[in-house]
């Protein structure tokens, strides 16, 4: 079926028709299809829905008539939690949003708080953040690649990518002391400095990793089955991708050259040398190619960051601002004033009155945090702009009128994490 033949979706124009597109769906009794539609639940525990996503499907044989994502199974009230926990303690919760890349979430949230507080981050901390973010991007793209390939039958890809992911876990473990849920970024910088041995291990990883990517490409990119299952599937035009608020690899797959790291640089990304891959067709195959190239570019940025770490060794990794940054542990243990200071920050650290928004180019798209403070220690509002939610939103658009098996390719190519969708 051609991309223009999306049945039941009415998507030749961009007019929003939820009745036909998976909002409140109703079967038209005059429709000759009436009576032959089967209601089917895909998920919430289905291997191809990557977490607790449920798709309520009305299927006409193998063709999907209506698809409606039903979400909220993993809703933990993160935004409410921020209001009751306070600004500092919410860092731990950001890890659990997109749990495939906790450090990226940490940085996004820290940037929003720093913007609200007007806090400058030291250069070395920025470099460490870039290194951690690019490693996180690779980690997350590895899952996207391995899992989407596994869903389409290439099970060995899953093991190849998880093998590499395990190596990154070892590196992150050596740095933060945790494999997952690291919470290592702080307001004003990062918790601790790296050392030479760790940087050497990162360098060795990036070098070997580029060879692995070559190998995966030789397995998938020219593979007739992979090509056939992905080419022309889940096609989005440039205008559609923008209108549906897609960002990140999904937007770039549709040919929009836009990357926050280039166009709204943060953490000094403007000083790094890297390219933004874009697709042409806007289909699942292009999104796959974009992710593959992004992994290479991430390794390239990572290596540049390692060079800079060599040059800035010994410099501060956290801002010297007593209003928001905890005193050193050794000082707290030996001085009453420092202990009181630590207590004040932990219990009632207030941010200035106002609002701020900061976004990072996460592996799924634009991960943004909108924070508003009334000047007291209790946050007024913290809204998480989740790229995964936007990716889930276009599932009906891309799968209605197509085969059920194509929906699996669409889900894999959109790349979302339910922790971030449901928050």
């Amino acid at each position: 079926m051609s991309a223009t033949g999306r049945r039941g979706a009415g998507l030749d124009s961009l007019e929003y028709r939820p009745g036909e597109m998976g909002g409140a769906h109703a079967v038209d009794p005059d429709d000759p299809l009436h009576g032959s539609l089967v209601e089917l639940n895909m998920g919430p525990s289905h291997p191809a829905t990557h977490g607790v996503l449920r798709l309520r499907v009305l299927a006409d044989g193998e063709v999907l008539h209506t698809v409606e994502p039903v979400i909220g199974y993993l809703h933990r009230g993160k935004e409410k939690s921020c209001e009751s926990l306070g600004w500092r303690k919410f860092f731990v919760h950001t890890d659990r949003l997109d749990y495939l890349q906790p450090l990226m979430n940490n940085v996004g949230y820290a940037m929003a708080l720093e913007s609200l507080a007007g806090l400058e981050v030291p250069e070395r901390a920025q470099v460490i953040r870039v290194l951690l973010m690019e490693t996180s991007r690779i980690m997350s793209h590895l899952i996207a690649l391995g899992v989407s390939a596994m869903d389409l039958g290439a099970v060995s890809m899953f093991f190849f990518t998880f093998d590499q992911r395990e190596k990154i876990y070892d590196l992150i473990d050596a740095y933060t002391g945790h494999r997952m849920n690291n919470t290592y970024v702080r307001m004003g910088g990062v918790y601790a400095d790296t050392d030479e041995e760790l940087e050497e291990r990162f360098a060795r990883f990036f070098e070997a990793f580029l060879g692995e990517v070559e190998e995966w490409e030789s397995l998938l990119t020219g593979n007739r089955i992979w090509y056939g299952r992905n080419r022309g599937i889940g096609q989005l035009t440039r205008e559609e991708a923008l209108a549906w608020s897609l960002t990140g690899p999904n937007l770039r797959g549709s040919g929009v050259e836009f990357d926050l790291r280039k166009h709204e640089p943060y953490c000094g990304y403007e000083t790094y040398d890297f390219d933004i891959p874009i697709g042409q067709e806007g289909d699942a195959f292009d999104r796959y190619l974009v992710r593959i190239e992004e992994m290479r570019q991430s390794a390239r940025i990572g290596r540049q960051a390692l060079e800079r770490l060599k040059q800035t060794r010994g410099a501060n990794v956290i801002a010297d601002d007593r209003r928001y940054v905890l005193p050193r542990q050794a000082d707290v243990m030996s001085s009453m004033e420092e202990l009181i200071h630590q207590f004040k920050i932990v219990t009632d650290m207030a941010l200035p009155k106002g609002e701020a928004y900061a976004a990072v180019e996460s592996s799924k798209g634009e991960l943004g945090f909108y924070v508003a403070s009334d000047g007291t220690a209790a946050p007024l509002r913290c809204h998480i702009r989740s790229p995964s939610l936007m990716n889930v939103q276009v599932i009906p658009l891309l799968s209605q009128g197509r085969l059920l098996s194509d929906a699996v390719a669409v889900l894999g190519s959109l790349d979302f994490v339910m922790g971030e969708v449901d928050r």
Binding site: E79, S245, T247, Y357, A358, A359, H383
Partner: protein, 177 residues
């Protein structure tokens, strides 16, 4: 990335003739406030004349019950837009009246649909013109609006829906045996 002045200038030209007030923001983003009734017109001008082709997010802030008692609006709507062409952003604020109804912008940006549903789910703010408006994250039978300031963090009878479901399940099983 465009400078804040250039963005403000472009927006001022695009919104000529429309009543908007510029606000200060700590992150340097161009921020406007307008009347709720003017939002559809302002938003259309922002998309068509100022090139904000992507809607980043829509949400609300609850400023507390005290304001309601004083007869002042309690909820502040926030729309955040982005221009990929100009690489800049804009934030639009509008106070929500007592009736808690806001014009929907799905006609301008279809991608705003889930954001509006979430806002309805969390704050109980209804969007006029949104055909598929229903809860997004909370169960459909849920009766409360969790992000309102008068909703306690530990929840209100958090297992109520589960217990109702469990009771009906047991009743069914009892009838069958």
């Amino acid at each position: 990335m465009m400078s804040a002045e250039a963005t403000a200038e472009r927006v001022r030209e695009g919104l000529a003739g429309l009543d908007c007030e510029a606000l200060e923001s700590r992150d340097g983003m161009t921020t406007l406030r307008c009347e709720l009734a003017a939002v559809p017109e302002v938003a259309a001008a922002l998309r068509d004349r100022c090139g904000f082709e992507l809607s980043t997010c829509v949400t609300a802030v609850d400023h507390g019950m005290e304001r309601e008692e004083q007869g002042r609006p309690r909820f502040d709507m926030i729309w955040q837009l982005q221009s990929v062409t100009h690489a800049d952003r804009l934030r639009l604020h509008a106070w929500v009246g007592e009736e808690l109804r806001v014009p929907s912008l799905v006609g301008l940006w279809p991608g705003i649909a889930y954001g509006e549903r979430e806002c309805f789910d969390m704050f109980g703010i209804a969007f006029d013109g949104h055909a598929g408006l229903k809860r997004l994250l909370m169960p459909e039978a849920y009766e409360h609006f969790p992000l309102r300031k008068d909703f306690p963090h530990q929840g209100i009878e958090p297992d109520k829906l589960y217990r109702a479901w469990d009771a009906s399940r047991r009743a069914d099983a009892g009838g069958a045996s």
